[in-house]
């Protein structure tokens, strides 16, 4: 008897394994722990840094080796995907988040404001992350971040 759920799980597991293998440079079913965040996020999840930390704790070895094994990662990630945890953020929610930061309600943030929020609040960006966000977010003519346009542009890629 053909079981749909089984097929679904099998497909999910193949997907997870593929994503994992992209970062498995030594072809021995392990990846550097620093790449786990990228793998999890590219599979459609959107955890915060602290949520990511929790996930990592589940798959790390008792004595951390700096590597994560597929056999530990696979069941954890399968569960995450099946339970549809850490869903991506809808566009309107994202927009509202920017609007919260836009205290003057002028439809844009200055470059300095964005930098301040992103590097001092929440789960702060590294300098590299900040620079990269600025390169695309800042409108060179006005030197401001017109966040509505920015979101629209970024979402097109999804």
């Amino acid at each position: 008897v053909f079981c749909f759920a089984e097929a679904l799980i099998a497909d999910i597991q193949k997907k997870i394994t593929e994503a994992f293998e992209v970062f498995d440079h030594e072809c021995n079913k392990t990846v550097d722990v620093r790449e786990i965040g990228t793998i999890i996020r590219s599979l459609g999840c959107c955890p915060s840094e602290s949520e990511l930390h929790d996930l990592l704790a589940e798959v790390e070895e008792e004595e951390p080796t700096g590597y994560i094994r597929l056999e530990k990662f696979l069941p954890m990630m399968t569960k995450v995907l099946m339970e549809r945890r850490y869903r991506p953020i809808p566009e309107d929610v994202l927009l509202r988040a920017f609007e919260v930061l836009d205290v003057n309600k002028c439809g844009h943030l200055t470059k300095e404001e964005l930098v301040k929020y992103m590097t001092e609040e929440g789960e702060p960006f590294t300098q590299e992350e900040m620079e990269e966000m600025l390169s695309a977010a800042v409108d060179p003519e006005t030197n401001t971040v017109r966040y509505k346009d920015y979101i629209t542009m970024m979402v097109v890629d999804e």
Binding site: A7, A10, D11, K14, K15, E18, A19, E21, V22, F23, H25, E26, C27, N28, G37, T38, I39, I40, R41, S42, C45, C46, P47, S48, E49, P88, I89, V93, L94, R96, A97, F98, V100, L101, Y117, M118, E121, G122, E123, P124, F125, E129, E132, M133, S135, A136, M154, D157
Partner: protein, 727 residues
């Protein structure tokens, strides 16, 4: 404080909480975005690499094709015999006197109208710098000077040993550069950042100067000029692309003929005789070994030092046909009692040896057997069956021969051994797994593990192996416990923004210092997202082409998952089927969103999906679609073969030659061609009344000439150079 303030405080707290939460949200979202970009970047890289290496595999398949012909083809007519011998006659490296006659420069006149640089010999440093300036101004060096330069270079190279020896006590620092592949801008950038070669500035260039990029000849001219001017400071190693057979396919031959319409042929002939004299490696302070590809478990530096390297004009040609025939005939004539014919262990190696004491009947049996094996192997390579066995072959087993065979083969065996030494150092790749296995992806050389590296280093008292041969995203990469360093100097190799180039500097302490760069102005003004998109587009274009070329096989595979013939399969099955046909080892489920636009409910209508692919690719509707597909799949091979036949590089081949070629090619590649198909093919070609085919037109008609849009765009940009330093 009164109530008002605490409400205020509470309000402020809530507000800052909100801001905190908003910030986390945005950061979360952004990090996911970046992660997805990174994944896309990695996948794109994988696509390019797997396609590149499968092309190289094609090249070796082509070699096997020629070896197969050499071993088993019986020309049915004198025409065919001449034709074959013209393709297959191994080029000897010429003696000086013959070369002087064939590739003379004296008779080449430089017209008054020539505005480019003039060279006089012996070359002086100002000549070399003048050349650099001239090429920056997009000038071209006259054929006369090119030829003379090549003659002088050859004369110089002939004096050099197989392995260059460099010492850091004379010039304090040595700079090692990897593959340049005709990217002149990268060479300019290296000279700009690091300085021109001089008595104070030593350089080692580790092969692959030519092919792919559009300014290979300019790079060669500059490198050779500096080699002559500063012979103690400039060292060149041979790469696998310093080989005219490889050049036929990867663009260098084309470039030379386009730039030197009258004298190109002479220049190419001369180049063959320069490439074969390039040293095979460089040793710094007896401690750091620099080779183009890598090593194998059979690599023997002493043997390498003794080989007459110039005998290997092309590493992709096997033994002479005549030698083999003599061998077989004499054995047959002796009519010794057949000892039973084993399948020769070295049959997996091109140019296999025959058991010398076989009789005529055994001989024909053996021929049939090995023909079968060879065909089987080729079918497997083209993707018609499983190849689990191949992976188990080791380099060692493929050279095993019995004692009597060793004796009778005599010089041809040790030549085989020498050939293997050279192929291994020019074509091998390091891998994380221990051991030494045949490099099935490239089709030549080995995959060598950390244990092989360790053994070689210990045996010769070395501390580091520097090699190139593989493109690396950051321009360099360590492996094997930092005992092997890959250095790659062609930035934007696959596409603008695909990778950085790098060079490495070694002082007397032999500690490597790296400098990275990227030679394209636009690469820096683009955001990460734009850079990745652009490279990605290019990769997916190439991938779609590959998919289209395998249309029939894909339909078959899809039908396997669609027993009820509904025309629909799951996306999961799609991924499995595609991998089973293309065998590129790519993460298809990750790539799917870019390849499959519409799939309702996780199901795909595969026929219409393939139709969409085809619509993008098809040009001539009246040609049998499977034929078109087959041509498309094999177009690089076709072009290479045509170029070989067109020995005077005129761009014209006779109609008869074309037919014979097509017959050979299609029989070997197991292509079925109906009579209608082939006459359609012929009718679609415009050929003039004297029976010649301008095959450039033919190739163009089927869009078989590779167009690289990226390269064209890059060439149009002014040669201003920007770079990012990071050591």
């Amino acid at each position: 404080m009164g109530c008002g303030s605490s409400t205020n405080a509470y309000y402020l707290l809530r507000k800052s909480e909100k801001a905190f939460k908003a910030a986390v949200l945005i950061q979360r979202w952004y990090r996911r975005y970046v992660a997805r970009l990174e994944m896309r970047r990695r996948c794109t890289w994988r696509i390019f690499q797997s396609i590149e290496y499968s092309c190289e595999q094609d090249q070796i398949k082509l070699h096997n094709f020629f070896s197969y012909l050499m071993d088993h083809f019986t020309p049915s007519s004198s025409n065919e015999r001449d034709f074959i011998s013209r393709i297959l006659t191994e080029e000897e490296s010429y003696k000086d006197t013959e070369l002087e006659k064939l590739c003379d420069y004296e008779s080449v006149e430089v017209p008054d109208s020539y505005m480019g640089p003039h060279l006089s010999f012996p070359l002086r440093p100002d000549h070399a710098t003048a050349l650099v300036e001239a090429f920056k101004q997009k000038q071209q060096l006259h054929a006369r000077y090119v030829l003379k330069l090549l003659h002088e270079t050859r004369r110089h190279l002939m004096q050099l040993p197989n392995i260059n020896h460099v010492s850091t006590c004379y010039s304090e620092e040595v700079t090692v550069c990897g593959d340049l592949h005709g990217r002149l801008d990268d060479l300019f950038l290296i000279f700009y950042k690091n300085g021109l070669p001089s008595p104070e500035k030593s350089y080692v260039f580790n092969g692959d100067f030519v092919d792919r990029g559009k300014q290979s000849i300019e790079i060669l001219i500059i490198l050779f000029a500096f080699l002559l001017v500063y012979p103690k400071e400039v060292h060149l190693n041979r790469g696998n692309h310093e080989d005219h057979m490889v050049n036929l396919r990867y663009g260098f031959t084309k470039e030379v003929m386009q730039k030197y319409k009258v004298h190109g042929k002479k220049i190419l002939k001369m180049l063959q005789n320069v490439f074969c004299w390039l040293p095979l490696g460089t040793l710094i302070d007896q401690k750091v070994l620099i080779l183009h590809g890598g090593v194998s478990d059979m690599t023997d530096l002493e043997l390498l030092g003794q080989i007459e390297r110039h005998k290997f004009v092309s590493v992709l040609r096997g033994k002479k046909r005549e030698e083999k025939c003599r061998h077989v005939d004499s054995a047959a004539m002796n009519s010794e009692s057949p000892e039973g014919v084993d399948s020769p262990k070295c049959s997996s190696f091109p140019g296999s040896c025959l058991h010398p004491s076989a009789s005529r009947t055994e001989l024909s049996q053996w021929v049939r057997q090995t023909v079968q094996e060879e065909l089987e192997k080729c079918r497997r390579q083209v993707g018609f069956g499983e190849t689990p066995a191949d992976k188990e072959l080791t380099c060692v087993s493929s050279v095993t021969m019995s004692e009597s065979e060793l004796e009778s083969c005599g010089t041809s065996h040790s030549r085989q051994e020498e050939w293997k030494q050279i192929v291994d150092i020019l074509w091998s790749d390091p891998v994380p797994q221990e051991g030494c296995t045949m490099n099935t992806v490239r089709g030549g050389g080995c995959y060598f593990g950390p244990d092989v590296t360790e053994k070689i280093l210990q045996k010769h008292g070395l501390q580091l192996l520097i090699r190139s041969h593989e493109c690396k995203q950051e321009g360099y990469e360590f492996c094997h416990n930092r005992k092997v360093l890959t250095i790659f100097s062609a930035s934007n190799y696959y596409e603008v923004g695909s990778n950085r180039g790098a060079y490495v500097k070694l002082g007397p302490d032999l500690i490597p210092h790296f400098v990275q760069y990227q030679a394209n102005k636009t690469a820096h003004t683009l955001t990460m997202r734009q850079r990745i998109s652009r490279v990605e587009e290019s990769a997916f274009r190439a991938l779609r082409e590959k998919l289209f070329a395998h249309k029939s096989d894909l339909i078959c595979a899809f039908k396997g998952y669609d027993q009820d013939d509904t025309g629909i399969i799951t996306l999961s099955d799609w991924a499995t089927a595609v991998e089973s046909v293309l065998r590129l080892g790519l993460p298809w489920r990750m790539l799917r969103p870019q390849l499959v636009r519409s799939a309702a409910g996780g199901m795909l209508e595969y026929k219409s999906w393939l139709e969409h692919l085809a619509v993008e690719q098809r040009s001539k509707e009246h040609i049998q679609s499977s034929l078109l597909e087959t041509i498309y799949r094999n177009r690089s091979n076709l072009e290479t073969i045509f170029r070989i036949i067109d020995s005077d590089h005129s761009g014209l081949i006779s109609f008869e030659e074309f037919r014979q070629t097509w017959k050979l090619f299609s029989s070997h590649m197991n292509i079925e061609l109906t009579d209608d198909g082939s006459s359609d093919l012929v009718r679609s070609i415009d050929f003039n009344k004297d029976g010649n085919i301008d095959f450039n037109e033919f190739l163009e008609a089927f869009r078989l000439i590779e167009r690289s849009h990226g390269d064209d765009k890059a060439a149009e940009l002014p040669p201003t150079l920007h770079s990012r330093d990071s050591s």
